[in-house]
Amino acid sequence: MITNEYPDIEFRQFLDIHGNLLQALPEHLDNRDQLLDIYQVLVTTRLFDEIAVNLQRTGMLGTYAQSMGQEAIGTAIGKEMLANDVFIPYYRDVATQIQRGVLLEEILLYWGGDERGSCFSQQAKDFPLCVPIATQFCHAIGVAFALKQQSQGSVAVVTGGDGATSKGDFYEALNIAGAMSLPCLFVINNNQWAISVPIQQQTASKTIAHKAYAAGITAIQIDGNDPIAMLVGVKQALQQIRQTGKPFFIEAISYRICNHTTADDASRYMQQSLLDEAIQKEPLLRYKKFLEQQYQWNEKDDKKLYKKCQQKVDRAVNKYKNTKPQDSAEFFDYMYQDLPNDLAEQKQDFLEGLKRHE
């Protein structure tokens, strides 16, 4: 019988599920203010998620894709990227986006069905989030190509879910990034589920990281529920890309302790016992324990921080609710730089139709 032996992929962890340090904290992270700053992003993302779901349930938002339980991944990416890098997200990336200048009220606008939510007022180059699965990986290699020409040392950072790694665009992008040596960081949020299909049914690959190995790209696995391991891993990956110009791949292992979106009911397919187990490992709980053990963090501090984050989220919700609707004919105006005659005629028809209804 012929068999293949594949190399083991390195698995990174700093905190166990009880928040104990498994190895020494890197010097650059041993800074209480900085660690609290990270905690703030984790908590803000969690609170934003909760409020977005509530807004959806009360009819004030459309379908929303949560990132509950996966906040450590986006927090680390946003923390470690530089301003000149470009972020190409999928759709569970609130934690990264808010650190890159995307406003919470813009994220609400987007999920509230308003295109202006992707017209980031404080962020010129990052991509809007990407609904068609895996297509974003191909954009990322194009961005990486452009950065290589324009801004040596900058990196295109792209995210996707485990389901996306079954698609052709994923393989095509990895293959080209490897073949053309493009400065691109791929981060897969392996949250174990593609809507209702578990990772065991998605692939027979030993790990998702092995898929990158096949494309000649350095790949590691990181405990995606471990904020410290994510921060260290993303930092190293970005440094290595800046130095070598070559792509890098991170499989971050997390768990989707929520529905796929607000339109989904995970209880139809996800066993309660699996969910209970995953909740024990989730990143916010773990990080809080770590802060308690290492930095004398207490309940009172925690409440204060939650309150501060909640206020930030509430302010964004207010801004969202007070945003004036866009002009109803605006959807004609951005199809082309200049409105072509045929479309101008259709816009005119639309406007006349409105008048007749008045």
């Binding site: 295109e115 992707s118 017209c119 980031f120 991509f127 068609p132 194009g142 961005v143 324009q150 080209i176």
Partner: protein, 326 residues
């Protein structure tokens, strides 16, 4: 001024824009050392280097997806898809992203890319190498779809496509890549992407066509002239957005309209033109609109491809029918 074939004119336009604008990049399968399977990019890698003219791995979706990423960051990508029959994996990227990026971001990001694609039948190519599916792309909001029918128009329209701020699908009728030469001055002058071209004026029938079918259409027009039927020939050139005004002006004059295209009949662009004429100018018609097109069949393999393709004879028959209609 040099006398050039269409493929040489395309090469010249690419060269012109590569010289004029350092943000232009050309890539695709076999476009580098090989100069493209039809030689459209011949010599360009030598002149501009491997970083600006390069071969990609064989992956159509990623070629277009990558173009989108590049275009979003102020580069000007010109991607070649080797044959139209292989563009379909990339339709996801074209439809879901290239055509939408400006709108999705309310103009914050845009997608000024060009996708060059040889298309159409008549060169005895293998299976999947001969289809004309331009109307699929014309149906997608946010795109421009441009099809030249002569060397000079290929030059000017391609320059315009490269300078356009939005995504352009540039479909090259490969049957006429080397069918005759025209004098072309390499002046970098673009042709308009929002008007048709009247190739021959006439008062009896408006023949509307584009791409390689212009050849049969002009042939038919010349033969019809001998029978005393004076036809006007209009080359759409830009099929999306469509310059219906010029078509209406012509039909108002002639009262008769025949649309000629190689693509399958149902939902082909002829249907759109007929509908627009019916909506906007039905009272100028003296005879029913006719469509002389390919059939709603798979494009036959090359032994029988001529049976599928509209001929000058079919156009002439339709013209006579239009003139005899009472």
């Amino acid at each position: 001024m040099n006398e050039l074939t269409m493929i040489e004119a395309i090469n010249l336009a690419l060269r012109n824009q590569m010289r004029a604008d350092s943000s232009v990049f050309i890539f695709g399968e076999d476009v580098g050392a090989n100069g493209g399977v039809f030689r459209a990019t011949e010599g360009l890698q030598n002149e501009f280097g491997k970083h600006r003219v390069f071969d990609t791995p064989l992956a159509e979706s990623a070629i277009i997806g990558m173009s989108i990423g590049m275009a979003s960051q102020a580069l000007k990508p010109i991607a070649e898809i080797q044959f139209m029959g292989f563009i379909y994996p990339a339709v996801d990227q074209i439809l879901n992203h290239a055509a939408r990026l400006r709108n999705r971001t309310r103009g914050r990001l845009s997608c000024p890319l060009v996708v060059r694609v040889p298309f159409g039948g008549g060169i005895h190519a293998p299976e999947h190498h001969s289809e004309s599916t331009e109307s699929i792309f014309a149906h997608i909001p946010g795109l421009r779809v441009v099809i030249p029918s002569s060397p000079a128009r290929a030059y000017g329209l391609l320059i315009a496509a490269i300078q356009d701020p939005d995504p352009v699908i540039f479909l090259e009728p490969k049957r006429i890549y080397r069918d005759g030469k025209q004098a072309i001055e390499d002046d970098g002058a673009p042709l308009p992407l929002d008007t048709c071209f009247v190739l021959r004026e006439g008062i009896d029938i408006s023949l509307i066509s584009w791409g390689a079918m212009i050849k049969e259409t002009l042939e038919a027009a010349a033969l019809l002239a001998k029978r005393g039927i004076d036809v006007e020939v209009i080359d759409l050139a830009t099929i999306k957005p469509l310059d219906i005004t010029s078509i209406i002006d012509s039909v108002k004059k002639t009262g008769r309209c025949i649309i000629v295209h190689e693509a399958a009949k149902t939902c082909g662009l002829g249907a759109e033109i007929s509908a627009l004429l019916a909506e906007k100018s039905i009272t100028s018609l003296l005879a029913p609109i006719q469509r002389v097109t390919g059939y709603d069949t798979v494009m036959p393999m090359f032994k029988n491809e001529q049976s599928y393709m509209p001929s000058a004879q079919r156009i002439i028959q339709a013209a006579i029918k239009a003139m005899e209609y009472q």
